[in-house]
Amino acid sequence: MDASVSSKAIANTFEADVREIVTVKYVRTAGKSDAVAGAQPSLVVEPGSEQELAKVLKLANAAGLAVIPRGGGTKLEWGNRPERADVILSMARLNRVIEHAWADLTVSVEAGCTIGKLQETLAKHGQRLALDALWPERATVGGVLSANDSGALRLRFGSLRDLVIGATLALADGTVASSGGKVVKNVAGYDLPKLATGAFGTLGVITRAIFRLHPLPKETRTISCVTEDVRDAQRLVLAIQNSKLAHSALQICCGGEAKPRVDVLFEGTEAGLAAQVEQAKSMMGSTITDAGKDVWSAREEVCSAEKTGNAEFAVAKFATLPAQMAETMETIARLSVAGLRRNIVAQATGVGCARFEGEASAIDSALRELRAEIERGGGSLVIAHRPAGITTLDAWGNVGDALPLMSAVKQEFDPRRTLNPGRFVGGI
């Protein structure tokens, strides 16, 4: 029997076994729309429980098949193209909010639940997961955790690593393991929820997560102002950061020929907000615009996977020091001279997103140069979306001296490289 016949036999046996586990209804042949960054899987499986999921994973692992976990599929093209893709493990049926312990400000939720549905449930008791993830109507808890996606609210409430307090992982060998718990304060054992956050599903499939929650704000106010240039915008952002204002979000938006805009969000009681807005206005000077709440969707616009017209585009996430933001934005402007359009949103944390539109080859060289410049300053540039033809550009860039350790962790958790092979840093 030659190798291809034998692998086909394995796949057939696997498919039959999986049908036994999840029933025929929840196994289907993968179509073109199931492709991941150009890699075509053959099967889509939708387990109905954690136990089913673990069994499927264990079988795939034993059969040497590559598994791509999928939530809402909103960020599937982030990361590198998978080396192999056999099975899409859909989380669609693991979508329950298990327990909203509102009096304890915690929630336990299955990974396939969308952020939108979660927030809706929490809002019934005046609470929220203090996270403004991209595309909440489609993005799932597990996907958002795995991609470590956070927005402007991070400035005040931290990113996912600060909000997740417990997680259950299904490992490639079928082990189901929980760590953390449903109390906010807990130092018993290693903090595996943090390890799974941002791991791109390469260590295990997140099946459940527990989050700490925050009350929904009573009132919110957004004020914006137009600045002279990015240096001016950064000065203002640093001044606000260095003030005693208790803002929840602070960002710089700049794109095209428009002057950079600074947006600041306040949340609290009416009495508290009035005084703060006054103080912020005095710092912002005379160019205050009434941009309204919509400014906070800027990140979704920049990161959108939709083409504007026919132009190719790329989306990249950059991380720099807060005081290096202007420099980074200037670099982006300089690199965009060659006929590229750009759109940038940068949070006061120093983390931001940039969008380039234009010729694929011009985008490619701009990204490479930008990464080199940012990495020289100790930061990073991660590619979320790239034009179809650009395949040699690594999504992650330099990982530093901890890469061997990361590979060792991967080896312990997924020695057969079953989960998302090749998509993460350093070929993990």
């Binding site: 312990a101 509102w102 009096a103 304890d104 005046g126 470590n148 600060d162 992982l169 082990t175 189901v176 393991a177 760590s179 449903k182 109390v183 906010v184 304060k185 807990n186 130092v187 018993a188 054992g189 290693y190 903090d191 595996l192 943090k194 390890l195 941002g198 260590l203 925050h214 009350p215 640093l238 950061q241 260095n242 003030s243 005693k244 208790a246 009681t269 009495a271 508290g272 005084a275 703060q276 991380a319 720099t320 020091l321 807060p322 983390v351 100790g378 991660v382 992650w396 860039g397 330099n398 990982v399 530093g400 001296d401 901890a402 350790l405 990361m406 962790v409 312990e412 958790f413 840093v425």
Partner: protein, 482 residues
């Protein structure tokens, strides 16, 4: 230890950086949890990352287990030496290396004292938020190992929230950088796993911290309630009203008596005392404080005071922060327990603690980070009375079992260390613990860095079914197979 190894270690740290005499070694035989004691073979006092690396390389080559130690204030035996091992004390690595105000970062060596970070940036009105009660003596390196909390972590988060990057000497002596001054470095969040790993994954030799701007206004309210039930109800109502105070602390009558005897904080003598601190913009704090007062009154608080000055605030906190030590005034011996429960389980758990306490004939004083459900029951006993100590230990364990049954944790901030590893299987299943140890095996396959802590049964790395081959840890008598 063989003299050639001692000579080699002396060569690395110099004669003043090596302790081998029995009398001096006694200083290091335990940490803040004094009922476990092990004499190390030697104590090393390196003053640079390079020296730490060299020491660890020798340990790795010779298969000598090592335990890193900061100020030794830990309460779970995390810095307890291991048999035939050495202690690497980091107290000489105590420099603040960099203060970067525009990015709100401070870079320190591990021996820097927690409060000294705030001390350095206070003139510019910044502070380092994690504030364990021992903050005037405990080290940042120790805080990183234990993921220390403190009263204000309800709002500000724990050590892990405020650590951005680490330089770590791994158990084979190599140096790695996890995280950095800039957030969101690509790759696994190994820093997130390292913080709180209790010295089992390596030694942090440089730590990048985030500092926080001082709020415009801080107000502390003290409310006296007839019992912990009413105080607990007030806490629930504060949370339900959508407020997130900087801190909510509770003390029961016995703890109040102790604090009074020790520091004369001028606390009212009541069934339970609630301390609520709000901070932020003045107008916001004023509005919310009125709300808190009203909630306390509604839940039968019979005395409410709001500290008006920094001095008054300081006194209010002094009583709370001194509470553990203060119990020494009312009992010759006591066990400090650290457990966590979902806040809503408080009335039940308190009732059960009361029942168990009566049953055992031992008093229990309760000090409680009420906002995040972190209980510190102090079990009072007298070692001179036969059977008392054992009864106290049994009661203390029973309380932890209550916490687990309520869906909580066996430790909120003191760590597992040596003390609570036997409780780990009660909180986590075997696959949970086995999965955690996969991380351990990736970082330290020989298990030389603080072995025998946290996990009741060390997983032998590279364990594969098949013919029995003795692991180096087995031959060294550190681990055994079951």
């Amino acid at each position: 230890m063989e003299s050639r190894i001692v000579d080699e270690l002396r060569e690395i740290v110099g004669p003043r950086g090596l302790i081998t005499s029995r009398e001096e070694l006694h200083t290091y035989e335990c940490d803040g949890l004094t009922n476990f004691r092990v004499l190390p073979r030697a104590v090393l006092l390196p003053d640079s990352t390079e020296q730490v690396q060299k020491i660890v390389r020798v340990c790795h080559r010779e298969r000598i287990p090592f335990v890193a130690r900061g100020s030794g204030t830990g309460l779970s035996g995390g810095a307890l030496p291991v048999e035939n091992g050495v202690v690497i004390s980091l107290t000489r690595m105590n420099k603040i290396l960099e203060v970067d105000l525009s990015n709100a970062r401070v870079v320190v060596e591990p021996g820097v004292i927690n409060l000294d970070v705030t001390g350095r940036v206070a003139p510019q009105e910044y502070f380092y938020a994690p504030d364990p009660s021992s903050q005037s003596v405990c080290s940042i390196g120790g805080n990183v190992a234990e993921n220390s909390g403190g009263a204000h972590c309800l709002k500000y988060g724990f050590t892990t929230t405020h650590v951005l990057g680490l330089e770590v000497v791994l158990a084979n002596g190599s140096l790695v950088h996890l995280g950095g001054k800039i957030s969101d470095a690509p790759g696994y969040d190994l820093m997130g796993v390292f913080v709180g790993s209790e010295g089992t994954l390596g030694i942090a030799t440089k730590i990048i911290l985030r500092i926080v701007k001082r709020p415009e206004c801080v107000r502390t309210l003290l409310a006296a309630f007839p019992s912990t039930n009413e105080a607990g109800a007030a806490v629930s109502d504060i949370i339900a009203a959508g407020m997130l105070p900087a801190a909510i602390e509770m003390m029961d009558n016995l703890a109040i008596q102790a604090a009074e005897a020790a520091v004369h904080a001028n606390y009212p003598n009541c069934g339970a005392l609630l301390l609520v601190e709000l901070d932020g913009p003045a107008a916001e704090v004023a509005a919310l404080m009125a709300n808190v007062e009203e909630i306390c009154r509604k839940n039968n608080a019979w005395e409410i005071r709001v500290a008006q000055s920094d001095a008054e605030r300081g006194l209010v906190w002094k009583g709370r922060k001194a509470a553990f030590a203060a119990v020494g005034r009312i009992s010759p011996n006591y066990i400090v327990q650290d457990g966590v429960i979902p806040r809503t389980a408080l009335p039940n758990v308190m009732r059960e603690i009361g029942r168990l306490s009566a049953e055992a004939g031992l008093r229990v004083a309760n000090v409680f980070h009420a906002g995040d459900g972190n209980l510190h029951p102090l079990v009072l006993y007298d070692r001179r009375i036969p059977g008392h100590e054992e009864a106290a230990e049994a009661l203390s364990s029973r309380i932890l079992e209550l916490c687990i049954a309520a869906g909580g944790s066996i430790t909120g901030e003191h760590g597992v260390g040596e003390d609570k590893k036997k409780m780990m299987p009660k909180m986590y299943s075997e696959p949970d613990l086995e999965t955690m140890q996969r991380v351990r095996c990736a970082f330290d396959p020989m298990q030389l860095s603080n072995p025998s802590k946290i996990f009741p049964r060390p997983r032998l790395c590279g364990e594969k079914p098949g013919e029995y081959v003795a692991h180096p840890l087995e031959t060294a008598g550190i681990a055994e197979r079951f």
